[in-house]
Each structure stands twice: as structure tokens, then as C-alpha cells.
């Protein structure tokens, strides 16, 4: 797992991917931060966090799209799958590689907290909890996108499907309000990422949210492993 994690990180940072993702993340979050906190004269980072959801929906597929589709295209999956490493190690290595890059992006919010300190006392609880929420939700999206990437040889398809899934989760609230059948809307809101995420933005370390996102991560890592097992057995 360490070998795969190391290779993932070096492939992100030896190519433009890591820098472009970080530049976009820092650029947009900085813009939202200045736009709300400075122009709006507030110490609350909540609007920034809420806006970042959209950016993340587009950035995470870019981080995760190449994880397995590129391996398949270059046929390097043959090296991975015939090595003594288990499927769990392989998928976990890929997941952690993408997650660490994403986590580095999220660290910027602490910098914004420090900037606020020059003017007033920032609400560290909100910053901390929201960052945790953002990390968990991002982790869940990464796991989903790695699963999508394992299904296709094309990075483009992986990215587009990943973004579509992200947008659907983002718009889940709107979708739910449009559906009039009671049980469908309640089922959908139970899996709505925004519902769980919004609790974190209030500065609450919500256990149901934590459990929900970690379950999604575990489920999709399991699905990805199943994709490879099924492929092997077909």
C-alpha cells in the first residue's frame, strides 16, 4: 500500500495535476473569502465553505479520474494485479493518494482563519468542523470517483460521470423538494450529502454525518474491489 501511495503522490506532484488542482482550489476559495469576508465585512467563513462545494464537485473528479482508468489504458494494472499486493491495498493506496492531495487543498481554510485573526477572533470551531466535514464529504466523492474510474479506460468518461454524480449530490436538496412522493423524497434526503455537510458548517461535529460519509467511503472502496474481482472472474 505504501508503494502505491508513494507512486500516486509522486505522479500527482511530478505532473501538472496537483498544481492545477491546488491553484484552482486556492484561487476560487481565496476569491470567495475576499468576496464574502472582506467585502461583506464579516468574520464568518460559512459562505466561503458553501461556495466551495461547487468547486469541489468539479475538482475531485479531476483528481480521481486517472486512478484506475489510466492504469487500464497503459496496461499497468497487470503489474498491480499480478503483484503480491492485495486488492484492498491497491484500492486503498489509490484512495489515500487522492485524499492526501485533496486534504492539502483543504488546509487553506486554516490560513484564512489566520488572516481573520488580524482583524478579529475567528470562530475556530466552525472552521475546524467545516474542514472536517469538507474532508469527509470530499473523501466520499473521491471513493465514488475511483469506483467510476475503475469501470472505464477513458479518463474523460471517468471525469464527466464523476462530475455528474457530484452535481446530482449537490442538487439533491432541489431534487428532493421537487418530488412529491413522500417516501422517495425522504429516502433521497437521507442520502443527501448537503444535508450532512451543512451540520458541519454550523460548527457541529455531527456523528451521523461522520458515520454517513465514512460508510460511503467504505462502500465504494468495497465496490471498486468488487469491480476487479468480477473482471477477474468474468
Amino acid at each position: 500500500m505504501k508503494a502505491i501511495l508513494k507512486r500516486e503522490l509522486s505522479s500527482y506532484f511530478n505532473s501538472a495535476v496537483a498544481y492545477i488542482v491546488m491553484a484552482m482550489f486556492f484561487g476560487f476559495s481565496g476569491w470567495f473569502f475576499v468576496g464574502t469576508c472582506f467585502v461583506g465585512n464579516t468574520s464568518s467563513l460559512s459562505p466561503t465553505f458553501n461556495n466551495m462545494f461547487v468547486i469541489i464537485v468539479f475538482l475531485i473528479p479531476i483528481i480521481a479520474m486517472k486512478t484506475f482508468s489510466e492504469e487500464k489504458r497503459q496496461r499497468t494494472d497487470q503489474a498491480l494485479l499480478t503483484s503480491p499486493a492485495s486488492l484492498f491495498e491497491i484500492v486503498m493506496g489509490k484512495f489515500l493518494g487522492a485524499f492526501i492531495l485533496y486534504a492539502i487543498c483543504c488546509l487553506i481554510f486554516f490560513v484564512y482563519g489566520l488572516v481573520i485573526m488580524f482583524f478579529t477572533t475567528p470562530d475556530w470551531a466552525v472552521i475546524l468542523c467545516t474542514t472536517v466535514g469538507l474532508l469527509l464529504m470530499g473523501g466520499a466523492l473521491i471513493a465514488i470517483d475511483i469506483f467510476v474510474s475503475a469501470l472505464t479506460e477513458s479518463q474523460v468518461i471517468a471525469a464527466i460521470v464523476g462530475m455528474a454524480v457530484g452535481l446530482i449530490t449537490y442538487m439533491m436538496g432541489t431534487i428532493v423538494s421537487m418530488i412529491e412522493v413522500e417516501w422517495i423524497s425522504s429516502a433521497l434526503s437521507a442520502v443527501s450529502f448537503t444535508n450532512y455537510y451543512s451540520n458541519f458548517t454550523y460548527g457541529i461535529l455531527d456523528p451521523t454525518g461522520i458515520v454517513f460519509f465514512i460508510s460511503v467511503i467504505a462502500l465504494f472502496i468495497f465496490f471498486t474491489i468488487r469491480v476487479f474481482e468480477r473482471k477477474r472472474w468474468s
Partner: protein, 321 residues
Amino acid sequence: MVEVKNLTKRYGDTTVVDNISFTVETGEVLGFLGPNGAGKSTTMNMITGYISSSSGTVTVDGSEILDDPKKVKSCIGYLPEIPPLYADMTVRKYLEFMFDLKKVRLPKKEHIDEVMRLVKISDVSERIIKHLSKGYRQRVGFAQALLGNPPVLILDEPTVGLDPQQIIEIRNLIKSLGKKHTVIFSSHVLSEISATCDRIVVISNGKIVADARTDELGTAVSGEQKLSLDVEGSQGTVLNALKVIPGVLKIRKTSELSGEVGRYIVEYQTGIDIRRDVFRAIASAGCVILNMESANETLEDSFLRLTAEDQTGNTAGGARK
């Protein structure tokens, strides 16, 4: 060392590999020969655990690939048909990654240096793989398979894309590796297999059509040895003289060359050499041998016959050992 038993792979209704069995002993170099699309790569992918078999087993060093994949995979070095290279890494970085991935427990730098020396890629160790030529890439793939000195090496068409000089180098390398490792290597180039391997398994349309030692393949396929003779002398005398030689099975006169000279094909039992007896018998009968040569099938003949036969639906049953 490697035992393949009743291995079958089906995709839907198509059977790609059909009930094949063979064993490879430690220190043996086995050539896996067959036309393109015969099922060579599929078989190798099953042995290495990349894909599973529909039925049948692969046992390496006493462990079954599906029961204990970790152990089996760690004693196999595999070079697939397309070398699994990360184009964005340098050769050294790539080999370091593969070293870690395979969980090799040897001094890292020394071992990688040694393997790079062995396949002659030390001079490109800091180059990025995507900038390498096909020959170098193939050798980097080879190096990757050698990491950790696995007891079993499985090489899928290792010489494709190399120039003649490199092909000879790789062949010699395989030969020298065969002393310590068990090697299974596939090719559709016959001369390559016959130059390198102790034993040949011929596969066609997913079935094994021959399994024999390299020098015996021609014999094994036809089932007997043949001698072609050009003899000067009357037909009756020659036939009578040859008939009494022990081991002779069948004599045929194939053509009248000129005057008294005729061409005879003598079929005789495998495992003996009757040339001296033939010489003495003909001489004492007062006839003269103008030409004598082995009429055994060459490897090319065998290969073409085996693969052609299989396509017409017959099997060379006698060739199986």
C-alpha cells in the same frame, strides 16, 4: 515447480483456452509456441493470477493460485505482452516502485543496479520511460520481472520489437536465467523457441497439440524417425538388405532418380540410430549409398502441421505425451 491442470477459460460461448495441462520442472525453460490468438497470453494471465480460470488449477511450488494468491504471485516474475510501464516515471523510479510493490526483501539499490546491469539498461536509468525506444522499454519490462529473483519467470513474447542483436542478447539472458529459474516463455517465432528452450508446448486454438523436448518435437509429432537414402542398386536387393536391420519399421521407395539409383524412406523406431547398420547392410549387399540424411520433420514442419491439423478439426493425439 509449475503445474497446470485442466485449465480452461471461457468468455461466454467462446472457449479461449480448452482444458490444457502441463508441468514445468525447476530449472527448465519451457517454450510456449502457437500462432497469434492461440491462447498463449490468456494462459499466462491465468498462471500469474491476472485473470481467473473458468475451471482447472495452477499450482506453483505446491501452492494453488486461488488458495494462496499472495504466495504464488510473490514467486512469479511476469512480463506481459505489453510491458506494464508507467510512462511518466524514470527507469530507476519505476523499478524502485515495482521493488516496493513486490515487497522484495533485498538491499534495494544494489539489487536494482544488478538487475539493470543484467538487462543492460543502466545507461538509461535516469531517463523517463515514455522517451525510451521500444527495445529499451521491453528490457525495462524484463527488469521489472526479474526484481526479487523470483523462482518462476513468465515472459510473454519477450523479444517482440527488438532488433536482431537485442533478440540474441535476450535469448542468451533467458538461457542463462534458465539455470536458476523456471522459465515459461511464449512466442510465435519458432526459431526463437528452438534456440532457447528445453521443452516446447505447442498450443493452437486453445488446445495443446504437442508437448515434447525441443530435439524430439519432430519425432514426437510423426511418431517415428525417418531416414532418406539414395541408393544405387536393384530395388529388390536394397529392400531385402534393409528389411533385416533391427528396428526398421517400414521401407518405401519414393522415386527413381536415374538408372539404378532410387530414393528410399526408411522408418524406424525412436531412440535408436540405425545409420551404421544401414551403411553396412547396403555395402555388404553390393550396393552404394550416394546420399543419406535424416528425414525427420523439422520443427517448422511439425509446427505448421500441428496448427493446420487443429484447424481442420483433427488432433495429433499421438503427439501428446
